[in-house]
């Protein structure tokens, strides 16, 4: 039971961080379908810190991992910002390209790095068995991951920024009615840049949290197994509102956690269902939920439409 709670919380943290990232981007008017690729990049950033600086003290390790994953995610999201805002490219296409590129680039990079270290090693795996210990403390049997706290803080911060600050009001105006925002002197391009870069930051952080959640090494060929898309679903299910996103993340986090721990529950083990079924569960439920709820969903009105100052 504790195990279920622990996995639920950590996977919910991942989904929440990435979904909040998507939320910022979409509230500014840019559809960020490239979260998957951003997560991979963030994960790579964090993993490299752990690989090359293995002997740091725990707080320093956490700080550097967070900073580096956020930074790589942010830099990578610049691709979307430049293409979608400056060149008014189709945001769905750019996002898709980013997903393909993210996994592929990370794989090539890690393989090259591994081969350079030892000629026989052609895997795309980075290991961080010992380093990972810095991220957790045990409270009884419960393995508390510092990322859970960070996610909670960022959730509250996101809510505050979106609904209580000047920045949030202006950001959401740009996603709803950019012409209106422009007419009162708000620089729509700048706000959209801010939205996309914040999503890169949160998405990158989500990436490192995901690859350290259940395992001690990561094979970058696998990307992040569709978690970026799952986070998009969480965002839509949460109606682009941070508090609802948190609840949706908990639900999907629990479903994902089940696949890790279902054997610990006697009645689930007794059903003797194939493990793959549990692995599929969050994705299937996601499809079903979205099919029934997306009709009533209220996306930011101007999302996906490139803003052109000349058009009035």
């Amino acid at each position: 039971m504790i195990l279920l709670l622990q996995y639920t919380l950590i996977f919910a943290s991942v989904l929440m961080l990435v979904a909040l990232g998507g939320c910022f981007s979409e509230h500014s008017g840019i559809v960020n379908i490239g979260l998957e690729g951003i997560m991979v990049m963030g994960a790579l950033g964090g993993a490299l810190v752990m690989k090359f600086l293995p002997n740091l003290s725990a707080p320093l390790m956490i700080l550097l991992v967070v900073i580096c994953s956020m930074a790589l995610g942010t830099v990578y999201s610049l691709l979307l910002a430049v293409a979608a805002i400056n060149f008014q490219a189709d945001q769905t296409l750019v996002g898709t390209a980013m997903n393909l590129l993210g996994t592929a680039a990370a794989t090539v990079f890690v393989k090259a790095m591994n081969t350079a270290e030892s000629v026989d090693n052609v895997s795309s795996i980075i290991q961080y068995v010992n380093q990972k210990k810095a991220l957790v403390v045990y409270i009884g049997k419960f393995e508390f991951n510092w990322f859970m706290l960070i996610a909670l803080v960022l959730l509250i911060l996101s809510y505050f920024i979106l609904y209580k600050t000047q920045f949030g009001l202006r950001l959401m105006a740009c996603g709803e009615h950019p012409q209106a925002a422009d007419s009162v002197g708000i620089n729509v391009y700048k706000m959209r840049y801010a939205g996309v870069l914040i999503s890169g930051m949160l998405g990158g952080l989500g990436g490192i949290v995901y690859i350290t959640a259940g395992v001690s090494e990561w094979k970058f060929e696998n990307g992040v197994a569709g978690f970026g898309f799952l986070a998009l679903a969480v965002m839509i299910f949460g109606q682009w509102k941070p508090h609802n996103i948190a609840l949706a993340a908990l639900l999907f986090g629990m479903l994902r956690a089940l696949s890790n721990v279902y054997t610990a529950f006697d009645f689930l083990a007794a059903l003797n269902l194939p493990g793959n079924l549990y692995n599929m569960l969050p994705y299937i439920i996601c499809l079903v939920v979205l099919a029934f709820t997306s009709k009533n969903s209220r996306a930011p009105k101007a999302e996906g439409i490139p803003y052109d100052k000349g058009q009035r």
Partner: protein, 513 residues
């Protein structure tokens, strides 16, 4: 001594490739006056305003504020000079509250950027009392009436302490009562020392509220006159350059057989879960123009969709010349003699990237006249047909039949649709806002065509938001309010005020239809 000028635009010239949009135009706005800017579409009003807002830079001429020359390079400069504008299409974020919309861009905050809404609320309430502008700061914009949305826009300017207020065609979306209210607000604002520039092509409103009027025609400055010393006729002559007939010349209607018979029609709304058209019954006879009047969004669009087959109906029957067409496909309706001049000419009227000639045979290309048995289009027949229509209906375009529809002006696009719809000799013509966005000359022409269609013994169902058009063109008026027909009026005996009460839902009558 004259009042000083609040803003002056002197000898403004702005050229675009191949066209002079503003040719030596001078506009002087006095402090505390309501100054109308009158002109047809394409006369250069919008360009002049864009120059004032810094969206365009004029090649020649200067702008003076309070007698001093100023440079306006972008809208923020205009804002800093206290110039504000209520746009024709409101610039409001629908899912924000009224208060959030008002403060957007000039939010009161702490140093850290945290919003301080209480302060803003106080200021808004004070302004609201001072100018008699009723707004509810906490309501969401999507929930409030168009009138209150407009007041929110006005409040946005007042909140920014703007001194020069520009209203761009502000009355297009309002009921007669709301227009009256707006006029009063404008008078209040002027009395408090604000200078108002009122852009319009509605002569009645200008005559009622403005102090002076500047007229533009085809990019040229025609003159500025005192409203007190002029007449509607003189203004229109200045605007169009010739005498315009305001009253549509038409004889008494001679209604014949029933052409369209609608019984208990109900159409579901796409936007909401309720019914947009509720149990509507009426008839249109041959040789009469029946007009559906009402404020935009009271079910007129859905009614027409139901009649023309663009949307399925929930219940009720529609008969065209006695035949049930309730569930007939659109082409069947068309070939049976229903013509439709749609509300949105870009969406339902034309294939914008097709040539003019293909657009003109959109509903007839499958007839033997235009297609061979093997299924190939007869290009020659299509070309000569299009040339005939272009000639007869005076459709002007760059390259004649092969002009791409998108490149044509709105008025000529509309003429092309009208040519197509009337020339196929319909029994029933459904015309939805046929003159929307067109200038006086084109309106006059389209009205004549509609009357001619009636006189040829056809039934005409006109849906219009323009009260003048309703009053002058129709033989019978049905007023729609919230999806129901709430009154049948005779244009000869009713008044605009009475119609307004029906349109606003304040009055209901027994309907004989």
């Amino acid at each position: 001594m004259e009042q000083p000028y609040a803003i002056e635009m002197l000898h403004i010239t702005k050229r675009f490739p191949g066209i002079i949009a503003n040719d030596d135009i001078t506009l002087q706005l006095r402090k505390g006056e309501i100054h109308a800017l009158l002109g047809e579409n394409g006369a250069g009003k919008s360009t002049l305003m864009s120059v004032l807002f810094g969206l365009y830079q004029a090649e020649e001429g200067i702008i003076k504020k309070d007698g001093k020359e100023v440079q306006i390079k972008d809208p923020n400069d205009a804002n800093d000079l206290g110039i504000g504008m209520v746009h024709q299409h409101f610039k409001l974020v629908e899912c924000f509250s009224v208060l959030d919309n008002i403060i957007l861009g000039v939010e009161p905050t702490t140093k850290g950027g945290v919003l301080q809404k209480a302060e803003a609320r106080k200021k808004i309430i004070a302004l609201s009392d001072k100018y008699g502008l009723k707004v509810d700061p906490d309501a969401l914009v999507e929930d409030i009436t168009v009138g209150m949305q407009q007041r929110t826009e006005i409040m946005k300017m007042l909140y920014r302490d703007n001194e020069i207020l520009i209203f761009d065609e502000p009355t297009a979306v309002l009921t007669p009562q709301e227009i009256e209210e707006l006029m009063q607000i404008m008078r209040n604002l002027a009395a408090e020392g604000k200078s108002i520039l009122f852009i319009s092509h509605k002569l009645n409103e200008i005559m009622e509220v403005a102090d002076r009027c500047t007229v533009l025609r085809k990019g040229k400055y025609i003159g500025t006159i005192d409203i007190a010393n002029t007449t509607r006729e003189e203004l229109s002559r200045m605007m169009v350059g010739r005498d315009v007939e305001f009253v549509v010349q038409k004889d008494e209607a001679k209604p014949g057989d029933v052409i369209l018979d609608v019984q208990g029609l109900t159409v579901a709304s796409k936007a909401h879960s309720n019914n947009a058209v509720k149990n509507v019954s009426f008839q249109v006879h041959a040789g009469e123009i029946v007009c559906i009047a009402g404020i935009d969004g009271n079910g007129q669009t859905e009614l027409v969709y139901g009649l023309t087959g663009l949307e399925p109906v929930s219940s009720g029957t529609v008969k065209l010349e006695g035949q049930d067409i309730t569930h007939a496909p659109i082409r069947k309706r068309s070939t049976m003699g229903m013509s439709h001049i749609p509300e949105d000419r870009h969406k339902h009227g034309l294939v914008l990237d097709y040539s003019l000639e293909y657009n003109m045979v959109l509903q007839r290309y499958f007839e033997p006249e235009f297609v061979s048995k093997a299924g190939f289009l007869k290009q020659g027949a299509i070309r000569s047909y299009a040339e005939r229509l272009i000639d007869e209906y005076d459709v002007r375009s760059g390259q004649g039949p092969i002009t791409i529809a998108r490149s044509m002006s709105g008025g000529n696009q509309q003429k092309a649709i009208i040519a197509r719809e009337i020339d196929k000799d319909p029994e029933l013509l459904i015309a939805v806002q046929p003159t929307r966005g067109l200038d006086v000359g084109a309106i006059e022409y389209i009205h004549k065509q509609i009357v001619a269609t009636r006189d040829a013994g056809k039934g005409v169902l006109l849906v219009s938001l323009e009260l003048d058009e309703v009053m002058s063109l129709s033989d019978r008026i049905l007023v729609m309010y919230e999806g129901e027909i709430v009154g049948e009026l005779n244009p000869k005996t009713t008044t605009v005020e009475e119609m307004g009460l029906y349109m606003a839902g304040a009055k209901r009558g027994a309907t004989s239809a």
